[in-house]
């Protein structure tokens, strides 16, 4: 296994209020690392810290190692080259990552031309290829359209395509299916799993949904109050949780494990 990114002793405080108290996580290439925990536990802040996108006025310490360097100490200009290119992010609401007034083609090719330095024609070809990869029907035609002309599930696929445009090594997906119908969610989860296997992406999948976690994650970490309380292989954490908090999350499920398969 190749380690793509490590987070060590990550602490974050916002306006004097501590939100992360020393988070440790390791992301491996070709593996999905699931990050679970109740709302407010610090999952989103962990992802934002990796991208250097913490809210204004945040103080951060610890180490985030990527490509042998500590992202927390990298000059802004270099960080901008990494962020969005080598490390990409997908959010719960695809509107966060898609510009409503730009065609899908522009959103896909602009990053590429900037970060990869490819020409217009090649960028266009790659963009159509990406749309095909995330299974948007009629990719050539879809390039000319605007985000609002697609369904919610299709928009999330396009947001994933935009995230993949610069061939990232790490993808941080924060509740990427939470706003979608279960039928659409199933397709996105299959897509994420496939991309991870095929492209060797390291994926940090943030989700409060332990069913989603169980379906795609290889490793699972559980957060509570700004700390990771448990990390381990998916099967072990979900079947034999060691931390009482993980157990309480499993006990609180509306659908007891294994009972929902018709």
């Amino acid at each position: 296994m190749t380690t793509a990114l490590t987070i060590e002793g990550l602490r974050v405080s916002i306006g004097g209020h501590d939100v992360l108290h020393g988070v440790d996580l390791t992301l491996e290439a070709g593996r999905v690392h699931g990050l679970a925990g109740e709302s407010g536990s610090g999952k989103t802040m962990t992802g934002l810290a990796v991208l250097g996108l913490l809210p204004h006025g945040s103080r951060v310490s610890g180490r985030i190692t990527f490509g042998g360097r500590n992202l927390l100490e990298m000059p802004v200009r270099e960080l901008n080259e990494v962020r969005g290119a080598k490390i990409a992010m997908v959010f719960q609401d695809p509107a966060t990552s898609l510009h409503p007034m730009l065609t899908v083609e522009r959103q896909l090719t602009e990053h590429m031309r900037h970060h990869l330095g490819v020409g217009r024609k090649e960028a266009r070809e790659r963009a159509a290829g990406l749309l095909a990869k995330v299974r948007i029907p009629g990719p050539e035609e879809a390039l000319k359209r605007y985000p609002h002309q697609f369904s919610g599930g299709m928009r999330q696929r396009i947001a994933i395509a935009v995230a993949l445009a610069c061939e990232p090594e790490v993808l941080i997906a924060d509740e990427p299916t939470t706003a979608l119908d279960v039928t659409v969610q199933a397709g996105i989860l299959r897509l994420l799993r496939g991309l991870c296997d095929e492209l060797g992406l390291a994926v940090l999948l943030v989700t409060h949904d332990l069913g989603v976690m169980s379906a795609v994650a290889d490793e699972v970490s559980v957060m509570k109050d700004g700390r990771v309380v448990e990390t381990g292989p998916r099967g072990r954490v979900l079947r034999e949780p060691r931390h009482p908090y993980t157990r309480s999350l499993l006990d609180a499920l509306p659908v007891p494990p294994g009972e929902n398969s018709p």
Binding site: E38, S39, G40, S151, G152, G153, D181, V182, T183, V184, Q185, A186, G187, L189, R190, R193, H208, D209, L210, G211, V212, M213, S214, A215, V216, D218, R234, G235, R236, V237, L238, R239, L250, A252, L253, P254, V255, P257, G258, E259, N260, S261, P262
Partner: protein, 311 residues
């Protein structure tokens, strides 16, 4: 069996937008809710759940079919303020940020509901207590509360009007996962306690399963399956219900990807001929492409002779 509190028979509701084809969002749907009963209405987004709910509240006109609440027909386009069928219907909407007036104290907003019911003995603080909030919150403004708290306030306001029918249109979808099950259970408990019926709309089957006595599954403007919750969950009959349930990932730690339902929901302005589900159905037969299975409780040619469960 007494007459149901809410009865919707062959309801058709159409949306007209200038320059665009007519959208038949509800295309002949039938549904019943008894007093003290909780019915969960589920289906993918765009299938017509909100349109149906809004028609029950008199906010959309029925193109055909009938809606009765407590035996009274709901007047088409119930803009006539005192429609007797509508005073007993209260709705809780999805977005707790837009459904409360930001400029009025929550106590005053709950008092509106009490006035509607002519209730002079209950105080807004009493209602806050019933939804699990401190009495002192009555003096505060909506912006001081989280989404989950606002939704509890919206529920308190709806209950203040003493509805005989409470409708929740995705009332938990905008809430944090930890608040979802709590708020859903709260709505159920308070509705049942007060003897009202609850029509609970959600696209999340696992929450509906927690609180509903019966489930109605909607697809492209039609109810395709209804039945007692436990029965639908354990033994779904309609291929669409099966697909919906199979898409829910199980938290069993096994790493099994949920089954995908291929294809998109068709455009309701141009629904497929025959069974509306046929282009996506794994069990499609010749008859399905030509004739619409227009019967219940399972609207599918494979289940034509199912005994009808009383509803």
């Amino acid at each position: 069996m007494t007459a149901p509190l809410l009865s919707v028979e062959d309801l058709v509701v159409e949306h007209r937008t200038p320059g665009r084809p007519l959208v038949r969002a509800v295309a002949g749907a039938s549904l019943h809710v008894a007093a003290g009963e909780v019915v969960g209405l589920v289906g993918e987004s765009g299938c017509g759940k909100s349109t149906l709910a809004r028609a029950v509240c008199g906010l959309h006109r029925a193109a055909s079919g009938r809606i009765r609440v407590g035996g009274h027909p709901v007047t088409p386009l119930g803009l006539r303020r005192r429609d007797p069928a509508l005073t007993g219907v209260q709705m809780v909407f999805q977005d707790p940020y837009s459904s409360l007036n930001p400029r009025r104290r929550v106590g005053a907003q709950i008092a509106d509901g009490l006035r509607t019911a002519g209730d002079t003995t209950t105080s807004p603080a009493d209602l806050l207590e019933r939804v699990g909030l401190p009495r002192a919150f009555a003096g505060r403004y909506p912006h001081e509360f989280s989404g989950g708290q606002r939704q509890r306030i919206a529920i308190a306001r709806a209950l203040a009007a003493r509805p005989s029918l409470l409708i929740g249109d995705e009332p938990i979808s905008a809430l944090d996962a930890s608040a979802q099950a709590q708020v859903a259970r709260l709505m159920r408990d308070l509705a049942v306690e007060s003897g009202a019926g609850l029509l609970f709309i959600s696209h999340d089957l696992s929450v509906v399963r927690l609180i509903a006595d019966r489930i109605a599954v909607m697809y492209l403007g039609k109810i395709v399956e209804t039945g007692p919750t436990a029965q639908v969950w354990a033994d779904p009959k309609h291929p669409y219900t099966r697909a919906l349930l199979a898409a829910i990932p199980s938290p069993d730690g096994a790493g099994v990807l949920p089954a995908e339902l291929p294809g998109d929901v068709p455009d309701p302005a141009d629904p497929p001929a025959g069974c509306r589900f046929h282009p996506r159905c794994p069990l499609v037969m010749d008859v399905c492409r030509e004739r619409e299975p227009d019967f219940g409780p399972v609207a599918c040619w494979l289940h034509e002779r199912e005994p009808s469960v009383p509803s």
